[in-house]
Amino acid sequence: MSRDFWKAFARNRGAVVGLAILALVVLAAVFANLIYPQSPWDMAAMPFQPPLSDDALLGSDTLGRDIAAGIVHGARVSLLIGLSSTAVALLIGVTLGAIAGYHGGVVDDAIMRFTELFQTIPNFVLAVVLVAIFTPSIANITIAIAVVSWPPLARLARGEFMALRSREFVQAAITTGQGTGTIILRQILPNSLSPIIVSASLTVATAILLESSLSFLGLGDPNVMSWGYMIGAARTVIRQAWWMSFFPGIAILLTVLALNLVGEGLNDALNPKLARKGRA
C-alpha cells in the first residue's frame, strides 16, 4: 500500500507543496526554543520597528516583542490545538456515527436528532460561549472546538457504517458470533477509515482557523503566544503598523492552505476511484 500510496499522493503537485509547508511549520513548532530561545513575550527591540530592521526580522509590535519569534512560538499552539481538538472530535463523532449507522432505527433517529441540535446552534457562537464560560485555557479551547466540530464527522461515519453494515463480510462476522464491539472496531472501522482520514485533515485546518479566531477575540490561553492573539493585539494600530497583523495572518493562511492541499492529496491517494473525476 505504501508505495502506491506515495505515488498517488505525489501525483498531486499541490499536495506535495502542502506537505513541504506543513513540515516547515512542524519544524518551527518543535524547535521554537532553539530558533528563538527568548520568550516571545519579552521585549526584544524598540516598539514599532518595521520589518527588516536590525534586531527584528519581521518587525516588532507595540510592546517591542519580536514578530518573527511570536510566529515561530505560535506554531505550537496552533498545531497542538488543531490536532488535539480533531482527535476529540473524531472520538465523539465517529463513536456516535458508528453507533447510529450500525444499529439504525430508533438509536439512529435519536443520535441524528442530537446531531441536528448541534448543527442548529451557530457553532462559532457556541465555541465563544463555551470558552468564555469555562475560562480560556488550552484544554478548554480544545474541548470547545471539538464540541462544535464533531457533527459533520458523525454524519460521515454514520453514512459509511450504514453502507458497510449490509455487506457480506459483516454478515459473515455476525454469523460467526462476533460481538457488536468487535464488528464495529475490527471489521467496519478499518474499511471506512479513508474518507474519515480525509475529513479529519480538513477538520484540523478548520480547528486551527477556529482557534485563531477565538484568540483574535481575546479568548485565547493568556499564557501562550498565538497567531490570532498577535493579529487581535495589532488590530487597533493597523494604520501605523501593517506588519504586526500581516505576518501572523500569512502564517495562518499558509498552514491552513497546506492542510487543505494535503487533504486533497490524501483524497487522491486513498479514494483513487473518486480522485480524478469530481475533484473541486
Partner: protein, 325 residues
C-alpha cells in the same frame, strides 16, 4: 399546494421540539458558569457584601431551584418574553430588535454575493476545466478558503481605507453625518461594502468549489448531449440544463451554512465595528449578561431553522422531482 402546507406543518412541529431542546441545553450551559449573575452584578457595583448579593438573588429569582428557574424561563419564552437585561436595564427584545437589522443586512448581502459570485465562478471554471482561468479560479477559491476572515477584513481596510482612502473602515453610517433619504442609503451602502465582501469571500470560495465539482459530474450526462444535439446555444445548455441539475448540492450546503454565517458575523462585526447581533453576543458573553445571551441563542436558532425550511422549499422549486418531505 396541500403538500407544501402539510410539509410546513410537520416542519413547524419538529422545529418547536428542536427549539425547546436548544433553549433547555443553553439554559443549563449558561448556568454551569461559575459565579451567578447576582455575584457579578454585586461585584460590578463594588458592593460584595453577602446581604446585598442575597437581596439581588431574591429580586431576580436566582435563589429558587434550577428546574423552577428553567420552567419560568421556558414559560416566558413561549409567550414571547425573552426577559430583561439586568446589565443594560432594558428588555432583551429591545436590544435584539435594535441590533438584528444591521446583522440581517450584512449577512443577507454577503449571502447573495457569495451565492451568485460563487456559482458564476464555479460554472466558469468547470466549463473551461483545464485552462488557465480554471486554475486561477481554483487557486483563488483555495486561498479564500484558507484565510481567516477577520484578517481578510483587516487587509481590505489597510488597502481600501488606509492606503487608497476609497471606503470607510468602521461603523454602520457616518456618525453625525446627518444624512437623510437617498444620501443615508448611499452612506450606509459605502460602509457596507467592505464587511459584505469580507464575509462573502469565504462562502464564495466554498460555493465555487462545490459548483465546479458538481458541474463536472453533470456535464457529460446524456441529457446534456441531447440538448447539444438539438442545437441549443451553449449558454442555454449551461444555464437551463447543466446548472439546474448541478446546483442541488450547493443549495444543500447553503442551507447548512446559514448558522455559520451568523457566527462569522461576530468576527466581521468586531473588525468593522458593525453594531450587530454578533457584537451584542460577544459583549454579553464578556459581561455575563445571561438573559441577553440566551435571547440571542434563541433568535439565531429560529433564524437557522427558518432558513433550513426555506432551503427545502427552494429545493423542490429547482428540482420538481424532489417532493417536499
Amino acid at each position: 399546494m396541500a403538500a407544501i402546507a402539510s410539509f410546513l406543518g410537520r416542519r413547524l412541529i419538529k422545529s418547536v421540539f428542536i427549539l425547546f431542546a436548544i433553549v433547555v441545553i443553553n439554559f443549563m450551559l449558561v448556568r454551569a458558569a461559575p459565579g451567578d449573575p447576582a455575584m457579578v452584578m454585586a461585584g460590578e457595583a463594588g458592593a460584595a457584601d453577602q446581604q446585598y448579593v442575597e437581596q439581588l438573588r431574591e429580586q431576580f429569582g436566582l435563589n429558587r431551584p434550577i428546574h423552577e428557574q428553567l420552567g419560568i424561563y421556558l414559560a416566558d419564552v413561549a409567550t414571547g418574553d425573552l426577559g430583561y437585561s439586568y446589565r443594560q436595564q432594558r428588555p432583551v427584545w429591545d436590544l435584539i430588535g435594535e441590533r438584528l437589522p444591521p446583522t440581517l443586512v450584512l449577512t443577507g448581502f454577503a449571502f447573495v454575493l457569495a451565492l451568485t459570485a460563487g456559482v458564476l465562478l464555479g460554472t466558469l471554471a468547470a466549463m473551461r476545466a483545464g485552462t488557465w482561468s480554471d486554475s486561477a479560479i481554483t487557486v483563488l477559491a483555495l486561498l479564500s478558503y484558507a484565510t481567516p476572515i477577520y484578517w481578510v477584513g483587516l487587509m481590505l481596510i489597510l488597502l481600501f481605507s488606509v492606503q487608497l482612502g476609497w471606503l470607510p473602515a468602521f461603523g454602520y453610517e457616518t456618525v453625525g453625518g446627518g444624512y437623510e433619504g437617498w444620501d443615508r442609503v448611499t452612506d450606509i451602502g459605502a460602509h457596507l461594502i467592505l464587511p459584505v465582501v469580507t464575509l462573502g469571500l469565504f462562502y464564495m470560495a466554498v460555493y465555487a468549489r462545490l459548483t465546479r465539482a458538481s458541474i463536472l459530474e453533470v456535464r457529460d450526462m446524456d441529457f446534456v448531449k441531447t440538448a447539444r444535439a438539438k442545437g441549443l446555444t451553449e449558454a442555454r445548455i449551461v444555464f437551463r440544463h447543466v446548472l439546474r441539475n448541478a446546483i442541488l448540492p450547493v443549495i444543500t450546503f447553503a442551507g447548512i451554512q446559514a448558522g455559520h454565517l451568523i457566527g462569522g458575523s461576530i468576527l466581521i462585526e468586531t473588525v468593522f465595528a458593525w453594531p450587530g447581533i454578533g457584537r451584542l453576543a460577544f459583549d454579553a458573553v464578556l459581561q455575563r449578561d445571561y438573559q441577553v445571551l440566551l435571547g440571542i441563542f434563541f433568535v439565531t436558532s429560529v433564524m437557522v431553522i427558518v432558513f433550513n425550511i426555506v432551503t427545502d422549499l427552494v429545493y423542490s422549486l429547482v428540482d420538481p422531482r424532489i417532493e417536499v418531505a
